[in-house]
């Protein structure tokens, strides 16, 4: 069984996790066209490669993002979405200075 690292609880067996689908940024709903929205809702990229995915550590109720290559099944990093946002903000601020 595969192991997955929850950013809060550490490395745990896969049976403790629930897959939550690919993490995708929704288009701006007030300005996008119907077709753009429909594409977001219904279409998925099936091609294997590096994906951002939602995973849920069930016993602790932790949602997090795993960056996983769906071809090799290798997880390169896991983090809380909020942490990543903070990190990105910080990086953007520093880049702006």
């Amino acid at each position: 069984m595969k192991l997955l690292t929850c950013p809060v609880n550490g490395t745990r067996p896969l049976s403790e996790f629930i897959f939550g689908g690919e993490y995708r940024q929704a288009p701006e709903q007030n300005s996008c066209t119907d077709a753009e929205w429909a594409a977001y809702v219904h279409n998925r990229h099936g091609a294997p490669g590096d994906k951002k995915e939602w995973w849920y550590h069930s016993p602790s109720g932790t949602w997090f993002i795993a960056e996983r290559n769906t071809l090799t099944d290798k997880v390169s990093s896991t983090y809380l979405l909020s942490q990543k946002n903070l990190n990105e903000e910080k990086a953007a601020q520093e880049a702006g200075k």
Binding site: M1, K2, L3, I18, G20, W37, V41, F64, S82, N85
Partner: protein, 969 residues
């Protein structure tokens, strides 16, 4: 008469303990430590079983757990493998695949008609006419499969354990032992496993007369066994490889799931038989099998043996045979240019005749076909791989040992995702791209020389150490040097065939040729057509030769043929090992025991056990449900609703969170009021619904249906992770028990237990109050799900039994009775409430169930809003409508999922339907085309039997005229 020879160093026998057993009614004696096969062979019993297809007599082939023609039963266990199962006192054994015993198998005639049974015979012969197939099937089923299942077999559950180690070494031969020792010396916690009863691998039997190898093994084992960081487990096989180094290890007592940080596969190689006519006779065995007989069990393989070899290994076997007292008649070497190495020189010195560039053209059977009486030898063209039979001659012998080469025991490497390539230096597939943390060493890595294998063990250990972050210098070893340990094509064609490639399935060279002629010339197709490698040994002794034959047929290099997929389990694993305790955790409410004591029938909803109904004696399920429903309508009923999902949303942004998550409006919701919540997904499909009660400006108490509650809570957590609002989500499902008391007498019953003003004026529907009920702090909600006159009480789980008892007691004089979740389904239907997941499916949008009223489109955002704005522009395609059947309907009752039919078209389906005793009508919900949605419209439902039933669209609630006005009631 006995083939037993004097005690050998490190033999596996305990000569102090004799074991008596019977085989096919005859009594035999062996020693403790013997396998069934070794004990029988010691008694010169050579016919140990019959082959699967042609029922040919078979004996010892490998003694390495792929002698699948020697399968026995003791009446309880089916298919015990004689070559590895240890002898036990009093065993009473019979071969499995015979009618009337191995010696006089009545099915042995099949061998003589074998030309009538080519590969693919069954596929073709019984295909048509179809009506005859049941007749043939009966015959084929009897012939297919091995052994008879004993249905009285006791249910034995084996334990499952988990174990961890830094390094798991698979194979306790010289390579694995060396690797383990090296890694342990550097500080790793090492476990070594080996499928054999004793460690040592080939070091224990491949001696070529060299006494030093025993001392070598003693030293190595001493170091390993005494090492505090090494655990050695024998009689344990690695059954498969699963991601992140999870390896189930199977032992007699059960499975241990090993999680290792690194794995060294030192699993060795399987010896492969050369292919010549009658290479399957009892007495023809692999060279390593002869060595195992001699050194493990002190049994002489035969009296006068011929060694046929296609590598230098056969010369080692010949020396071991001589040392065991077997007369070696000749060594026949397929290769013409080879000198056979050091051991050939010794054989010359000892006067053994060697025939280079020769082959065994065919083995000759004794008249009763129970053994070998000689071999026909002739020259062999090692380039064209054909026998030059013009000058053939016969040598007498009673056994043939054969060595032609090896196939790596690479199943686990394949499963781990190893890329293999064909190495012509060793004529074998070897790993060239290993997954992270997986290492291969020894024969499986194409290394054969003993010293070199041990250094390969050191090399693998150093690789594993570096993988685990230890700073050790890389250790390089050179590739195999010298003659190839495997022959490129050890096949001797023969016009009359019976030159077996696969002993499991009796497949001959010509079968492959025929398969290729029919177009099955891809390895995966050929495997399925010929069934090569599909028998119990899973191709361990046949796949490599099959690949070689196919390569030759197609004139392709071997590596272009590829290999078939290797899957767990490595050896057949008993079902008892795999099966286990049922492990489906379920949740019980605090009132569960009461329900049980009152005769409830339970149903599984989500993770919960819920009381479905309480049948009185001699009452049917239907009677019980109608009686419970009548109580709610006429007096009062009470249901345990503790399994409802209960979630608190707490914080300044609590209302904002609900606004985004659900479709309705919550910022404007007054404290003390309840509102309906409807959850959609991003495509606008209805997911679930529930009730949100506002307890304070910053506190909402949400209750949702049982079955989907866990998933809804999970989605709330995900949204919060995205939105990062100033709230906390608390799942209090298990903290609060809930019960719903409903019916005309509900208010009076509840009033006797609380000071709360329950008048309809001060406590209207869709409101929540906090009050003390029966001495317990309770949240009291007026919801109209099953009845307009209902109170839902939420109390701490631990006190829920107390409150329940108090209500039951107070309700006695009012005829209060408990009702279950099945009755609740009927009650809500009478009320005209549709339920997500029952009256909706994975495509239903809120417009189709008439839930527009629950949607506030003019707020900034909610999940599914954008999709609804698109759907709103489109015409409806279906509509959920309430319907009734004719009064006094007494025909074929439609059921849920029956189709609504309009002419020849499917126009919808029934989602809920039930008879209601209270209304005295059959009522339900159905999807229909929008044209039929108006009250009074009629539509047709087709029942399971095909009859058409007319239904009429009505308004809800179904009993509208029989109940007082609910507005503010």
């Amino acid at each position: 008469m006995s083939f037993r020879i004097p005690k050998q160093a490190r033999e596996w026998l305990n000569r102090d303990k004799k074991i008596n057993f019977t085989f096919e009614g005859e009594t035999f004696t062996g020693f403790e430590g013997d396998t069934i096969s070794s004990a029988l062979w010691a008694a010169e019993q050579k016919v140990l079983g019959r082959s699967f297809k042609y029922h040919r007599p078979r004996g010892v082939l490998s003694l390495a757990n792929h002698d699948i023609n020697v399968m026995l039963t003791d009446g309880t266990d089916t298919n015990m493998r004689g070559d590895i199962v240890e002898l036990k006192e009093g065993m009473s054994l019979n071969a499995v695949n015979t009618i009337g015993g191995v010696k006089k198998d009545k099915n042995s005639y099949i061998d003589s008609i074998s030309p009538l049974l080519p590969v693919g015979f069954y596929y073709k012969a019984f295909h048509t006419p179809r009506r005859l197939f049941p007749f043939w099937e009966n015959i084929i089923r009897k012939a297919a499969g091995l052994g008879v299942v004993n249905f009285n077999y006791p249910r034995i559950l084996k334990r499952k354990q988990h174990a961890h180690c830094d390094l798991l070494v698979i194979g306790a031969g010289p390579t694995g032992l060396t690797a383990a020792y090296e890694a342990a010396q550097a500080g790793l916690e090492v476990t070594i496993i080996d499928e054999n009863r004793h460690a040592g691998g080939s070091l224990g039997y491949n001696r070529a007369g060299d006494k030093a190898s025993v001392e070598y093994l003693d030293d190595l084992l001493n170091k390993v066994v005494r090492h505090p960081k090494i655990t050695l487990r024998t009689d344990a096989y690695a059954a498969g490889y699963y991601p992140d180094h999870l390896i189930p290890v199977v032992e007699a007592g059960g499975i241990t799931k090993f999680r290792a940080k690194a794995v060294i596969v030192a699993s060795g190689a399987f010896e492969q038989p050369p292919v010549f006519r009658y290479n399957d006779l009892p007495g023809v065995m692999l060279g390593s099998a002869a060595q195992r007989l001699i050194y493990r069990y002190s049994v002489k393989p035969f009296n006068n043996g011929i060694v046929v070899t296609a590598n230098d290994y056969g010369y080692r076997v010949a020396i071991d045979l001589l040392d065991a007292g077997t007369k070696v008649v000749a060594v026949v070497d397929l290769r013409s240019g080879s000198n056979g190495g050091l051991h050939a020189a010794e054989l010359y010195r000892r006067g053994i005749k060697i025939y280079p560039g020769h082959c065994v053209y065919e083995a000759l059977a004794t008249s009763d076909k129970s053994s070998v009486r000689g071999a026909v030898i002739c020259a062999y063209d090692d380039k064209e791989n054909i026998a030059l039979a013009a000058n053939k001659f016969t040598l007498e012998c009673d056994g043939i040992a054969m060595s032609a080469g090896w196939a790596p025991a690479a199943a686990l490497l394949y499963q781990a995702g190893t890329g293999m390539q064909f190495d012509y230096g060793v004529q074998q597939f070897v790993p060239n791209r290993l997954p992270e943390g997986v290492f291969a060493a020894g024969k499986v890595n194409g290394i054969y020389d003993l010293d070199q294998r041990m250094r390969d063990g050191i090399r693998a250990a150093s690789d594993a150490l570096r993988h685990l972050g230890h700073s050790v210098a890389p250790y390089a070893i050179e590739k195999h040097n010298g003659p190839s340990p495997s022959h490129a094509y050890p096949m001797v064609p023969h016009a009359k065939g019976k030159n077996f490639v696969d002993f499991d399935e009796d497949i001959q060279i010509k079968d492959f040729e025929n398969a290729a002629k029919e177009g099955f010339d891809n390895i995966e197709l050929m495997k399925r057509f010929t069934t090569v490698g599909m028998g119990p040994s899973q191709g361990k002794h046949s796949n490599m030769n099959a690949i070689r034959i196919l390569a030759k047929i197609r004139s392709l290099p071997v590596e272009k043929i590829g290999t078939t997929t290797s899957r767990p389990f490595f050896h057949p694993t008993p079902i008892g090992h795999l099966g286990g305790r049922g492990f489906h955790p379920h949740r019980l409410t605090a009132i569960h025991d009461w329900h049980q004591a009152h005769g409830a029938v339970f149903t599984d909803i989500g993770a919960w056990k819920r009381a479905a109904y309480y049948p009185a004696a001699n009452h049917s399920k239907e009677d019980a449900i109608q009686a419970e429903a009548m109580a709610v309508r006429k007096s009062a009923g009470i249901i345990d609703a503790s399994s409802f999902g209960k979630i608190e949303i707490y914080g300044p942004d609590a209302a904002e969170f609900l606004e985004r998550f659900f479709t309705g409006s919550y910022i404007s919701q007054k404290v003390g009021s309840c509102r309906y919540v409807l959850l959609l997904d991003e495509s606008g499909v209805v997911v679930d619904d529930g009730i949100a009660s506002r307890l304070a400006t910053d506190l909402f108490y949400l209750s949702i249906g049982t079955s989907n509650a866990a998933a809804v809570y999970r989605e709330m957590q995900r949204s919060q992770q995205e939105w990062q609002l100033n709230i906390a989500l608390v799942n209090v499902t298990g903290a609060y028990g809930a019960m719903n008391i409903a019916g005309p007498s509900a208010r009076e019953i509840l009033a006797s237990l609380t000071d709360l003003d329950l008048s309809y004026e001060s406590f209207p529907i869709s409101h929540i109050q906090e009050a003390v009920v029966a001495g317990v702090e309770a949240r009291v909600i007026r919801v109209a799900f099953v009845s307009d006159m209902a109170y839902e009480l939420h109390v701490p789980m631990a006190q829920s039994q107390h409150v329940w008892n108090a209500l039951i007691e107070a309700g006695k004089k009012h005829g209060l009775r408990p009702f279950g979740s099945d009755t609740q389904r009927l009650l809500r239907l009478e009320m005209g409430h549709h339920m997500p997941g029952i009256d909706t499916d994975g495509l239903t949008n809120p417009f189709e169930i008439g839930a527009e009223w629950a949607i506030k489109m003019d707020k900034p955002y909610f999940i599914g809003q954008r999709s609804l704005s698109i759907l709103a522009k489109r015409p409806l395609r279906k509509q959920l409508v309430p319907f009734v059947l004719a009064s006094n309907f007494n025909a074929d009752m439609p059921m849920e999922c029956n189709l609504v039919i309009d002419g020849n078209e499917i126009a919808g389906r029934v989602t809920s339907i039930s008879y209601s005793k209270f209304i005295d009508r059959c009522i339900g919900f159905a999807f229909v085309t929008p044209a039929k949605k108006a009250v009074g419209s009629e539509f047709q439902i087709r029942t399971d039997s095909g009859s058409l039933v007319t239904a009429t669209v009505v308004e809800t609630p179904f009993f509208k005229n029989q109940i007082k006005s609910q507005k503010g009631a």
